[in-house]
């Protein structure tokens, strides 16, 4: 596909379980971002990948959150021992450059509900 693809689109999980969210960026895009958006709130930065450089993990809220990206391809965001406060929409975006003069393309998001 031509756009950023995220899966699953919806995920309901029990408190304490681990979940893995997937993001397929646009082919050739070197920069990849993960954001969290709670209901009615803005986008909260989580992590940023730029090519083969070390990721910027400064936005990860706790050590239960981790993310990986292999080269310039798929990224996975893993949340361990999920809590109800983790319920949110998780958005992924990719960009052709790490510079701010290029637009970011967003996926539709994964809506995570922890019950």
């Amino acid at each position: 596909g031509a756009g950023v693809s995220q899966s699953p689109s919806n995920k309901v999980t029990e408190k304490g379980k681990d979940v893995e969210l997937r993001c397929d960026p646009i082919s050739g895009h070197t920069a990849l971002y993960w954001y969290r958006q709670r209901l009615g709130q803005g986008l909260e930065f989580l992590i940023y990948f730029q090519g083969n450089s070390a990721p910027d993990k400064s936005g990860l809220p706790s050590d239960r959150f981790s993310a990986e990206r292999t080269g310039e391809s798929v990224s996975t965001l893993t949340i361990q021992r999920t809590q109800q406060e983790d319920s949110a929409v998780y958005l992924c975006a990719s960009s052709s450059s790490f510079l701010g003069n290029t637009e970011a393309f967003f996926g539709q998001g994964t809506r995570l509900t922890v019950v």
Partner: protein
């Protein structure tokens, strides 16, 4: 600490009027500033980008200004339409951090 502020109250205007949304930032010197639109249940969509050495940028009915002295960007939609109703997000980008951080957004409602 760095902060991005957008009006959290919804902006409610009549169709045909000009909508003006504000983005203020502190402890930032962004090289670029981007504006996005977000509809309910969807990811944000890029609208416009303005550089620090540009005062104004236009695209169809949209206009963005960038005042690096006031540390403020204004986003205008002229001849607004109900279809313009959405949340609008600003994202100043600073080259020292190499990441895109968003304001919390302002919801615009255009009444027919």
């Amino acid at each position: 600490s760095q902060k991005i502020e957008q009006n959290s109250e919804a902006l409610n205007i009549q169709e045909g009027k000009t909508a003006t949304l504000t983005c203020n930032y502190t402890n930032y010197s962004p090289a670029y500033l981007q504006w996005y639109r977000q509809d309910p249940g969807r990811g944000p969509v890029f609208l416009l980008l303005i550089r620090e050495n540009e005062k104004e940028k236009r695209k169809e009915r949209l206009k963005v200004t960038f005042d690096t002295t006031l540390k403020q960007s204004l986003f205008h939609i002229t001849a607004s339409q109900p279809a313009d109703s959405a949340t609008y997000l600003c994202a100043p980008w600073m080259d020292s951090s190499y990441k895109l951080i968003f304001g919390s957004g302002t919801r615009l409602l255009v009444r027919p």
